[in-house]
Amino acid sequence: MTATSHSARKVAPAALHVETSAQRGGTFRQRLVQRAKRDRILLVLAVPGILLLLLFRYVPLLGNVIAFQDFQPFLGIFQSSWVGLQNFSILGDAEFLNALKNTVIITLIQVVLVFPLPIVVAILLNGMLSERIKRIVQSILYMPHFLSWVMVVAITQQFLGGTGIVNSGLRGAGMQTIDLVGNQHWFLTLITSQVIWKDTGWATILFLAALSRIDIGLYEAASVDGASRWRQTWHITLPGLRSIIILLLILRLGDALNVGFEQILLQQPAVGLHASEVLDTYVYNSGIIGGNWGPAAVVGLLKGVVGVILVIGANSIAHAFGEPGLYEGRSAR
């Protein structure tokens, strides 16, 4: 590390390395060796993390080749026979189509019903309370986010199951009991309520941060002009949240085909597959449990590809509307 680089980095850390290596001259190879020498500790530090990511996030992608195989676990990837596109006939399968339908319905419901709730709660929280009370309420509302789905489902059963509070009340009033946790007609309501209970509080955290960034002067100016609180919320608060709302919508869209895998898997035995099978549970049930490895891998592969397309598509739409979207940071840094 030279003395010039010290002083230069203080001013412009990003531009520094380019400059110095150009000044030093030498062949590309020499410069590379110099940089490697200078950054060797950083490079060593990156190794464990990068290796783990490569091994468990990139290498597994190769496993998708079994979508084109008659995969047999005891033969493995290298011995199993290739069958071309034969596995893709699964896409016409009734069970698969049912899983796809359920997935889309659950996503739509959750985007429409679940997504806006934290915005409302954040505005409620922001508007009135003293800092102290606000923090207490926040701590309480964040809490369920840290419970596992096993616990949330278990608690739900305690409350809504055959002997739970709702049915005890109904029985007490001499009315017919409803099995809320084991009834396919209630399944959508059930899982949506669970998602709301678990994650609404936590989801306010980003909106609250965005709210705290809104210029207070805007509210003052508006109230001088005689704007009511409702109008201020509509014309100042909501526009101030626009970027973060769009960002989170993009992330949600990219996740459109992931609908609470653990949550649903845990409750499938109670409601049956017709109402509760979604793409992920289908891959698990049909592929790993049922042994239809190839066709299930097709579903998993297509699901991944569609997911990436959705994120990139949603991001381009955000850019088209002049919003930073998801990738802003990549170019900025």
């Binding site: 490079l43 096993v150 109230s223 299930a296």
Partner: protein, 309 residues
Amino acid sequence: MTTLTRSAASTPRKSRRPLLQAGMPPESLLMRVVKTVVLVLLCALVIVPFVSVVATSLADQQQITQAGGFVLWPTHPSLLAYKSLFAGGVVTRALVISLLITLVGTAISLVATGTLAYALSRPGSLGHKPLLLTVLTTLLFAPGIIPNYLIVQQLGLLNNYWSLILPVAVNGFNVIVMRAFFMDIPHELTEAARIDGAGELAVLRHVVLPLSKAVIAVIGLFYAVAYWNAFFNALLYLNDNAKWPLQLVVRTYVIQSVTLSDPLNSGPVPPTDAVQTAILVISIIPILLVYPFLQRHFAKGVLTGAVKN
């Protein structure tokens, strides 16, 4: 972005408060009452189930039956359910397994994530761009259940506890959050240490780490909670139920209402309401214990600052 958030969330915010109230027209009393009632109801919705679960675990069966499974205050509190759970070996064993996986996993995750985040915190260093891209791309897609299963199988990790740790040890999002935090540490501080002759590792240990307690606490909590709560990977990779962590035991006892055969042979514990809620309490307690210490860091914008980056 990051600096903005953090400063907005700490000091200037408080001084701004009165201004906000002065600037806005006073809310009608009705609105205030409505808002308060809504927020109190929301908090009750979260708290009541917790209280009820704890109360049920302490109540006797007679009271539980009378109350129809919903107890808010045990009239004759007893630790019977807990005693019978810990008398057998299943829950104790699962608890130890879960604690070990959580401790070892969190340690490995923090080291691998922290070192990678630090390595990526200096734009312009050799290989910075491709390495950063490698991390960012993982945010876009996940390999999926079957490819994950195949790699764990190929590595010979099936039915091995490492299958619950290594595949999830590094989370790209957490790397990015930590990196953003490291990049915000004033360069003057690290430079001063370097001029004093400190090497890269010494700077990391004596300057960067002491300043990064908040982000380490939050990311550590995320990892710990993820390890503690994981149930599906254990279901997928561990086929011997003697190796099951707590979440799978909870699932069997409470959701499926089935008992597991007990290695201590003291006879299986019946899944009564009290026992079921007791095992829930056991699995919630560790989270409740660490939560208060860590939740204050959330407010400091550790997370929100990095989201944009």
